[in-house]
């Protein structure tokens, strides 16, 4: 009896491993889950930014390299860190598909409207569990109401902080000036 139970348990484990190895395969497309994505020239934390895909934009996965993925978005290729991407579809509110403007030096301006996520009637049908709704839950609207209830809270410095930005070029120059030598590879 015990032997047959053991056999069943092992069989269950092995079959589930097979099931999950299938699920773990990287999907063909992923979604940018940060406010401003950074598409880099090489898979390194100090690499220059070639383009900035928007929140909710779908990117096509070309290649995996550690925590980096080579992606293509609106005809531009580059590397993105996996922490910027999700397998979920992010449903933006109508009219928020962005037109990218004001690309920095050495960057490609991504022209045209961002690809809006496909709906269930599209070629890639999605279930509700796979959709994240932008602007829902703890959102700008909730923050606004919370502020009304707590008028003493001051967000002025929070807003100011969000403007403190450092480019990869500034980081490289800073490290060089101080003889700070990054270990090979950078972010894992």
């Amino acid at each position: 009896m015990i032997r047959s139970v053991r056999f069943i348990a092992v069989a269950v484990f092995v079959s589930l491993c097979i099931v999950f190895s299938g699920i773990a395969a990287p999907p063909k497309t992923m979604t940018v889950q940060v406010k401003e994505g950074q598409l880099r020239g090489t898979p390194s934390f100090l690499a220059g930014i070639v383009a900035r895909p928007s929140y909710g934009e779908r990117v096509e996965i070309i290649e995996d390299k550690g925590a980096w993925k080579k992606v293509s978005v609106r005809g531009v290729q580059g590397w993105m860190h996996t922490s910027a991407l999700t397998t979920k579809v992010i449903a933006l509110k109508a009219g928020t598909g962005t037109t990218q403007t004001g690309a920095g030096a050495g960057e490609v301006a991504l022209a045209g409207k961002a690809d809006l996520p496909p709906t269930s009637s599209g070629s890639q049908s999605v279930t509700t569990g796979e959709i994240a709704l932008a602007g829902k839950g703890f959102s700008e609207e909730v923050e606004k109401q919370y502020k009304t209830l707590n008028p003493k809270l001051d967000y002025a410095w929070v807003d100011k902080m969000e403007g403190f930005k450092v480019t990869p070029e500034q980081m490289q120059a800073f490290l060089k000036q101080g003889s700070v030598m990054p270990a090979e590879g950078g972010a894992k």
Binding site: I2, V5, I8, A9, V10, V12, F13, L16, C17, F20, Q33, V34, K35, Q38, F45, L46, M80, S83, A84, T128, G129, E130, A132, L133, A134, G135, K136, G137, F138, S139, E140, E141, V142, E143, Q145, Y146, L149, K152, L153, D154, Y155, W157, V158, M161, E162, F164, K165, V166, Q170, M171, F174, Q177, G178, S179, V180, M181, P182, A183, A187, K188
Partner: protein, 303 residues
């Protein structure tokens, strides 16, 4: 006994393999198979399904966008306790080092990015919001004699963000409440009643996090884990991990007994140093190159 052990083993391995999203369906599948094989009873199966469902309602289900809004308000609360130190030379310097370390971390992309600010206080204190806002007091900066030590302070805070300690401070019941409200609402337009309910839950989550950050402190194990992440980050970027031990040594001298800052919320510097030494090699003393030390003194010499 043996039976349940034999069944538990593959289920546990399965739970480790499965992501949050798939956990529920996987458990349903596993329990169904287990039931079919007669290894577990129907009621046991039900209870396994139930607990897996409870587990899957974790803070990780909040989208980065929602964490961003939680973090902004946590930041505003911190700034209600300590005013900003409005000196751009100091803040710019801290941001270059902090943002470089953050980019080298395992969580470089965060919804609104990483941003650092010096707080105008003699207390020895620092805070990191789940959204990537990091605050350090002048009192804590005075525990740093060089750039490597400052990098250690910032890397420790990035460690808390990367390890999601802030989000974990939200009470489990509150997480379930918020996520359930959202799940029920789904794609529907959220009405004013739902916004009010969400705002109340939001306020609770903010209290949970700020209460931990400001008053209670994280678990000792979380502080030690953040120190380990700091050592890894320092090495990756090219700073000497001795900066962390040197900073803690000076902190020990500067901390005032009974203070409501790190004296209350963090393990004693000696304990942290002992833990760092236990887990890794002892690094050589810091010998900062002249330009590195010069810019440190220029930005923070009079902090």
């Amino acid at each position: 006994m043996k039976k349940s052990l034999l069944f538990t083993l593959p289920v546990l391995s399965l739970l480790a393999l499965a992501s949050c999203q798939t956990m529920e369906s996987a458990t349903t599948l596993a329990t169904a198979i287990g039931q079919g094989a007669g290894v577990i009873s129907g009621s046991q199966a039900q209870s396994i399904r139930k607990s897996a469902k409870a587990v899957s309602r974790s803070a990780e289900e909040f989208t980065p966008e929602q964490e961003y809004y939680i973090g902004r308000t946590v930041g505003a609360v911190v700034l209600g306790k300590y005013p900003a130190y409005d000196k751009s030379a100091a803040n710019e310097y801290v941001n270059v080092i902090g943002q470089t370390l953050a980019q080298a971390s395992d969580l470089p992309a965060i919804f609104g990015g990483y941003h650092f600010l010096v707080l105008d206080s003699n207390d020895i204190n620092a805070f990191a919001t789940p959204s990537g806002l990091v605050f350090v007091t002048r009192g804590l900066l005075r525990c740093c004699k060089n750039e490597d030590a400052l990098a250690a302070v910032l890397a420790h805070e990035i460690g808390h963000i990367q390890l999601r300690h802030g989000m974990e401070a939200i009470e489990k019941a509150r997480v379930t409440e918020a996520l359930t409200t959202l799940a029920v609402e789904g794609a529907k337009t959220v009405g004013s009643r739902e916004v009010s309910a969400l705002t109340e839950t939001f306020g609770g989550a903010i209290s949970d996090i700020t209460g931990t950050l400001i008053n209670k402190g994280y678990a000792r194990s979380s502080e030690y884990a953040a120190d380990q992440t700091a050592v890894t980050l320092l090495r990756r970027v090219g700073y000497n991990p001795s900066g962390l031990v040197e900073m803690l040594t000076l902190m020990k001298k500067n901390l005032k007994a009974g203070g409501l800052d790190f004296a209350k919320t963090h393990p004693a510097p000696d304990d942290r140093i002992a833990e760092i030494r236990k887990k890794g090699p002892t690094y050589a003393a810091i010998q900062a190159p002249v330009p590195r030390q010069k810019r440190f003194l220029q930005a923070l010499g009079n902090i």
